[in-house]
């Protein structure tokens, strides 16, 4: 179980790094779907090995919501956007370095948690947390609405992974709330982005600069 969870969590983190590296939107979207699928497999594996039926259900919901529904909505949002060229003066080298530093930071921050963890999946917790941190960084440094949403979703995936690894999943009422929440946020984002695009003919939130002071 430890091996399996470590491997799957590591793969998820590797995909996060790939998302940082790739600059084209369709590629990032596919990577996000792949990452969510891996998370579903992680939940399913732990569900089988630890005999938690609830986790199998969670895995199924992840597949429906994060592998199927959300990427579809995101593709719809992104369909109007041109395939993103690398912005001048931005290379993924520095971003990857920062991501690497965040992985180290994740291990340091999560020390008390791994020390207290009793479940066999505990050793993979920092990997999930690193994923969350990198997602947060993507979200905060993103320049357009699409990178914001994607960063947020990666962040959310990381926290979700952490929850599974640390506790085998939260009570179902909370899990249900989380999924509903993510889905609604993405749908609202879509509505907002559509309206921004109508008004500004661009999804570059750099143009949203009216409110200052």
């Amino acid at each position: 179980m430890t091996t399996a969870s470590n491997l799957l969590a590591f793969l998820c983190l590797a995909i996060t790094l790939l998302i940082v590296w790739r600059q084209s939107w369709p590629a990032r979207l596919r990577l996000f779907a792949a990452q969510s699928l891996l998370l579903a497999i992680l939940a399913g594996t732990i569900g089988v090995l630890a005999q938690r039926r609830a986790l199998l259900l969670v895995a199924a919901v992840v597949v429906v919501v994060k592998v199927w529904a959300i990427p579809r909505v995101l593709a719809r949002i992104g369909s109007g956007a041109p395939v993103r060229r690398i912005a001048p003066g931005r290379s993924s080298g520095i971003a990857l370095l920062v991501a690497g530093a965040l992985v180290v930071a994740a291990y340091v921050v999560m020390l008390p948690v791994t020390a207290a963890a009793e479940l066999p999946t505990g050793s993979a917790i920092p990997l999930a947390f690193a994923m969350a941190l990198i997602g947060l960084a993507l979200c905060v440094t993103g320049r357009d609405a699409l990178s914001h949403i994607l960063g947020f979703l990666v962040f959310e995936n990381g926290i979700f992974g952490l929850a599974i690894l640390a506790t085998y999943g939260l009570p179902s009422i909370v899990e249900a709330g989380v999924f509903l929440d993510v889905l609604v946020i993405v749908l609202i984002m879509e509505a907002v982005v559509v309206q921004v695009r109508r008004e500004h003919a661009s999804i570059d939130v750099d143009r949203l600069r009216e409110l200052r002071g």
Partner: protein, 477 residues
């Protein structure tokens, strides 16, 4: 049962209002708001008589602290609801009323559950419901504000979720029983045995997360935009009680954190964030070009003060902080409602283009001035008393430096707010305003709110002190 009723009223109201239009909608809206207020006050009275309301195997639970918040949400939503019909014009964007009541429902749910997981879901629900209300006027600025609001608060609330996961992680290893491990009653009981390092880490995430919703600096950046661009009744709700719900979430975890990690840890965080919030607000109150924005920054200041009171602790500090939550809710929602009237009369929220409110809208102007003086912490209003309690606790508990610095910043903020308000209240307007909002019906809610503020400032009704004591017993046992 009573708890179910108070939650059901806004939910049913929202459902009925979904398809309603025109007069029917206005009537239904009024009925829903009035019955929410009545039910909330009934809950407060029942709990104040010593009863803890419980439903669904303890999933819903209202102790004195919950009842305090429920009453506050009921009162402020009633106040905001009375002003709402002014903003819902026939033929304009629809669904204001149902989303308004949905928003009220999510806030009520957040403060009346024992389960910190469900509380998280409800707090997130407040963002999702209110984001539509912020963008209700569909201008470019309100669109930008709602985008910022949704993004920043979603990230913040996800960080709070991380904290909740860690609390669950710590609790489940002690407790085992999964359905009850997220109950704060359970957490408080287990707290002495929880891993202090994990709880400290969790509390940092929780404070950052719920602090974002509460508008604490440096996570406050969404707040001035959302509060200034939303229609006035929504600003009143957001500034008055939504921020308080964020504070409430932090307060719910604080006793368990104090028991697990010692009181110094949470205190340090609260004092730093409180001071920082007041400092940021003091600076921006001087530079803000828009009076609704100035009011929003004043909310950052007051939430910072509440945080300081909680950080100083002790019976006086805690009671002062919780009283300040209520006083601020009343004063700020009143001033937002009045600022909305000024805005619609002059057609602008810019300080530079509004002059002479006192001359052209004497009643609105006088009431606005009164609410601003209340916000500035002057007697005879309640904020004077609660600020006095907070600072007394600061000096008494041995933080004269923090308290002194906060006082200095408060004076700067006070001057900044008064300067802005002075400019719009007096002088000759470049353009004549449309006219005074007339009729006793628009005067009653404002007068009532100011009256209650004088009451909490001058003469506490019998039993009020005991009610505050009960809150203190919950927050710092």
């Amino acid at each position: 049962m009573m708890l179910l009723v108070v939650l059901a009223i806004p939910l049913v109201g929202a459902a009925l209002l979904w398809r309603a239009t025109n007069r029917l909608a206005t009537t239904l809206h009024a009925v829903t708001a009035a019955s929410t207020l009545a039910a909330a006050l009934a809950v407060a009275v029942a709990v104040n008589a010593g009863e803890t309301l419980v439903a669904f195997d303890g999933l819903l639970r209202a102790d004195a602290l919950s009842a305090w918040m429920i009453a506050l949400i009921g009162i402020v939503s009633g106040l905001a609801a009375s002003e709402a019909p002014r903003y819902v014009v026939p033929g304009g964007p629809r669904r204001f009323y149902p989303i308004f009541h949905l928003f009220v429902f999510t806030m009520l749910l957040a403060v009346s559950t024992d389960d910190v997981g469900l509380m998280w879901v409800a707090v997130e629900g407040t963002t999702l419901a209110s984001v539509f209300l912020v963008n209700f006027e569909r201008t470019r600025a309100s669109l930008e504000a709602s985008y910022k609001y949704l993004l920043i608060c979603s990230v913040g609330i996800a960080i709070a979720f991380l904290g909740t996961v860690l609390v669950y992680f710590a609790g489940i290893q002690q407790f085992g029983d999964e359905t009850h491990a997220l109950r704060y009653t359970t957490l408080l009981r287990l707290a002495p045995g929880l891993s202090p390092r994990v709880i400290e880490l969790a509390f940092v995430f929780l404070v950052v997360g719920y602090g974002t919703k509460a508008g604490l600096a440096p996570m406050h950046t969404w707040l001035p935009d959302a509060h200034s661009e939303a229609p006035a009744p929504v600003s009143a709700l957001m500034s008055g009680v939504l921020l308080s719900v964020g504070v409430y979430a932090i307060v719910r975890f604080k006793p368990a954190v104090d028991a697990a990690a010692g009181p110094a840890f949470a205190r340090g965080i609260m004092l730093v964030l409180g001071l920082l919030s007041i400092a940021v607000a003091a600076a921006f109150l001087w530079t803000s070009p828009n009076y609704k924005r100035a009011l929003a920054y004043s909310s950052v200041e007051h939430i910072g003060l509440v945080c300081l009171g909680l950080g100083f602790g002790g019976p006086v500090g805690t009671a002062g902080a919780l009283l300040h939550v209520a006083n601020h809710a009343l004063a700020k929602s009143t001033s937002f409602l009045l600022s909305g009237r000024i805005r619609s009369a002059y057609g602008s929220a810019e300080i530079a283009s509004v002059r002479g409110v006192m001359k052209h809208m004497p009643r609105t102007g006088a009431a606005f001035l009164a609410s601003i003086l209340a916000l500035a912490g002057l007697p005879p209003f309640g904020l004077f008393v609660s600020e006095l309690m907070i600072f007394a606790a600061g000096f008494k508990q041995g933080f004269p430096l923090v308290a002194g610095l906060a006082l200095l910043l408060l004076v700067i903020a006070f001057a900044g707010l008064l300067r802005a308000v002075h400019r719009i209240l007096y002088g000759a307007p470049a353009r004549e305003p449309v006219g005074e909002v007339a009729g006793w019906r628009s005067a009653v809610p404002v007068a009532a709110a100011l009256g209650v503020l004088v009451l909490t400032g001058l003469a506490w009704p019998p039993g009020f002190g005991e009610a505050l004591d009960r809150l203190v017993a919950i927050v710092s046992p």
